[in-house]
């Protein structure tokens, strides 16, 4: 059944017990993103340390989210996969993730890069849900851009 391929156990686990949830200090940027078609909302903070640009390290990604299981679980997985990496590595993971969920099921995900996030491959079959899967991830990208713009200006 397709439904099971979308709602894999990993996704439901993250939904029920989200990792890294809650807004924490310190942070350099906070963004609020909404999905205007359904009203799902996420607030994401990033805390970057060390180098500049892609070399900076994602020290923390904290968030508060209201939304469906897909958007909540996706943000939880983003926390797991992005924190502790450089911005460059995080953006590579994000790109692989985005390519997979926007791929209409035609993109073979790289498990080495995506780890738990491969569970979201099933979402690609449902175009209406792709935005849910991307909400927290794109908020992270925006937050990093704002943090680094703020840092250099």
């Amino acid at each position: 059944m397709k439904l099971d391929s979308m709602y894999q156990e990993i996704i439901l686990d993250h939904y029920r017990n989200p990792h890294g949830r809650g807004l924490r200090d310190p942070f350099e940027a906070e963004v609020h993103h909404v999905n205007p078609t359904c009203g799902d909302e996420v607030t994401v903070r990033v805390h970057l340390t060390g180098g500049e640009g892609l070399d900076a390290k994602v020290e923390d990604l904290s968030y508060d989210a209201l939304g469906c299981s897909i958007s909540q679980a996706a943000t939880s997985v983003a926390h797991d996969l992005l924190v502790g990496h450089t911005v460059g590595e995080a953006f590579e993971t994000l790109e692989a993730y985005q390519t997979m969920v926007q791929g209409r099921g035609k993109v073979e995900p790289d498990e080495d890069v995506l780890d738990d996030a491969v569970a979201f491959a099933g979402v690609a079959a449902y175009p209406a849900r792709v935005k849910c899967a991307l909400l927290g991830w794109l908020a992270f990208k925006d937050a990093v851009a704002q943090a680094q713009a703020g840092g250099t200006s």
């Binding site: 397709k2 439901l12 359904c38 009203g39 299981s69």
Partner: protein, 450 residues
């Protein structure tokens, strides 16, 4: 609930609605979705399906008489213009209006914007002419709407206020999904500063039918214009705009078994005569010189450019189709489905109706939430069962905020829906609860109403 018909047949006012027979007119309803599941289409509040009669009317027109209307003197141009104006005449009669009071627009959103921009144009600089002065808005004036509006009947008024300096005010919604018209605060919402009162004839989320007469009475008492969003009423119940006494009204073709790309603005003849145009260009002029132009009388003044033609003819056919069934019969049928859905959904543990819980002063949109289950996730399971519902805020974000919910699930009906489909919805909701393990513990996991 004693009035629920056992199966497909509905008896209403002497007329019998044979749903099975009606469904034969809608080719799309016989398809399957998601690996062979019969389609259960409960999203007519968003857009309705079209019967063969409408599709045939469009095709026949295009195959025999297609031409640009109101231009040219050749045979096809004449036939096309006749067909277009005949559609206007039947649509006008369908809603109790005169033919010159019906303006074709792209959709209801454009129709409401036409009024708002017409007023806006009357408020700019010296205005357009003396007749348009009555629509001039400025600082100190007030525009009234309600918290239960679709964004289409809210955002244009926010923008009109922003452009003119007028102030937007609104009626709130009560916890049971009615307009608060009687609290101390509500009593002063319409006052001597009010110029426009824009409100829905039936909430697209709650199904609530506000007391139009009372709102019209209050607006008239202070000389304000009324603008009725009739998108969810005209497709589902008899509507007589002259009898309602509203000044303007808007509805969309695609929600009433007709084509998309066509909507209607109704305006009282005297007001359309005075309202400045919104879109300008070809067709809508009287006399054009390099120095300036004068404009055609309504409705042509508001139909700039070559209009949508097969869509108007299709909407005419939709009106014929609905009239043949009888709008009283349509209303009674949907009322039975709504009543059954309200009862059966409320019987499910964890399900809460957003809006009135009975069919009193209420139409066939049933919005609800499920405890512990996000509407998106619920709809995914419903979709997997072949059931199409709407989820989200249904273009009524402030309304959802007022109810403290982020989103809801909405089932909405039309003449082709059956009692079996209501049961399928209820079974689907249970399946969603089981799938996500959110059935309250006291409840047995299977059986019951499913």
């Amino acid at each position: 609930m004693t009035a629920i018909a056992p199966t497909a047949g509905t008896s209403a006012g002497g007329a019998t609605l044979d749903v099975a027979k009606i469904r034969e007119d809608f080719p799309i309803l016989s398809r399957t979705v998601r690996d062979g599941k019969p389609l259960v289409y409960l999203d007519s509040g968003a857009t309705s399906q079209r019967p063969r009669q409408v599709l045939d009317a469009e095709r026949t027109f295009l195959e025999t008489s297609n031409a640009a209307v109101h231009r040219g003197a050749h045979a096809l141009a004449e036939e096309a213009t006749d067909a277009y104006e005949s559609a206007r005449e039947r649509i006008a009669a369908f809603v109790g209006a005169d033919i010159h009071e019906v303006v074709f627009t792209k959709n209801a959103t454009e129709a409401i914007n036409l009024v708002a921009y017409g007023m806006s144009n009357a408020s700019v600089g010296d205005g357009v002419d003396q007749a348009a002065e009555r629509f001039r808005l400025g600082p100190g004036d007030e525009v009234v709407t309600t918290e239960m509006e679709h964004h289409a009947n809210l955002v244009p008024w926010q923008e009109l206020c922003r452009r003119t300096g007028a102030t937007l005010r609104w009626f709130s919604v009560t916890p049971d999904g009615r307009l608060d018209l009687d609290s101390d605060e509500a009593r002063s919402v319409i006052n001597e500063r009010t110029r426009v009162v824009a409100f829905t004839h039936q909430s697209n989320v709650l199904g609530t039918v506000p007391p139009v007469e009372e709102l019209v009475r209050r607006a008239r008492a202070v000389g304000a214009y009324t603008v009725l969003d009739a998108c969810q009423s005209v497709p589902h119940a008899p509507v007589d705009l002259h009898a309602l006494g509203v000044d303007f009204a808007a509805f969309s073709g695609h929600k009433m078994l007709g084509p998309s790309g066509i909507g209607v603005l109704y305006g009282r003849a005297e007001l359309l005569e005075a309202l400045p145009p919104f879109l300008t260009g070809g067709s809508m002029i009287e006399l054009v010189r390099m120095e300036g132009s004068t404009y055609a009388p309504p409705p042509a003044r508001f139909e700039a450019g070559v209009p949508m033609t097969s869509q108007a003819i299709g909407l005419g056919a939709a009106v014929d189709y609905l009239s043949a069934i009888g709008m009283d019969t349509v209303k009674a049928h949907e009322n039975e489905l709504t009543g059954a859905a309200l009862v059966k959904l409320q019987d499910l543990p964890g399900v809460s109706i957003v809006g009135p819980r009975t069919t009193e002063a209420r139409g066939g949109a049933v919005a609800f939430t499920i405890e512990g289950l996000h509407p998106h996730d619920a709809s995914q399971v419903l979709d997997d069962s072949g059931i199409a519902v709407r989820v989200g805020h249904h273009c009524a974000w402030p309304l959802h905020r007022a109810f403290g919910v982020q989103a809801s699930i909405r089932a909405s009906f039309h003449v082709y829906n059956s009692m079996e489909e209501v049961d399928a919805l209820v079974a689907g909701v249970r399946r969603a609860q089981e799938f996500f393990g959110v059935l309250p513990p006291s409840e047995p996991l299977r059986g019951g109403s499913a």
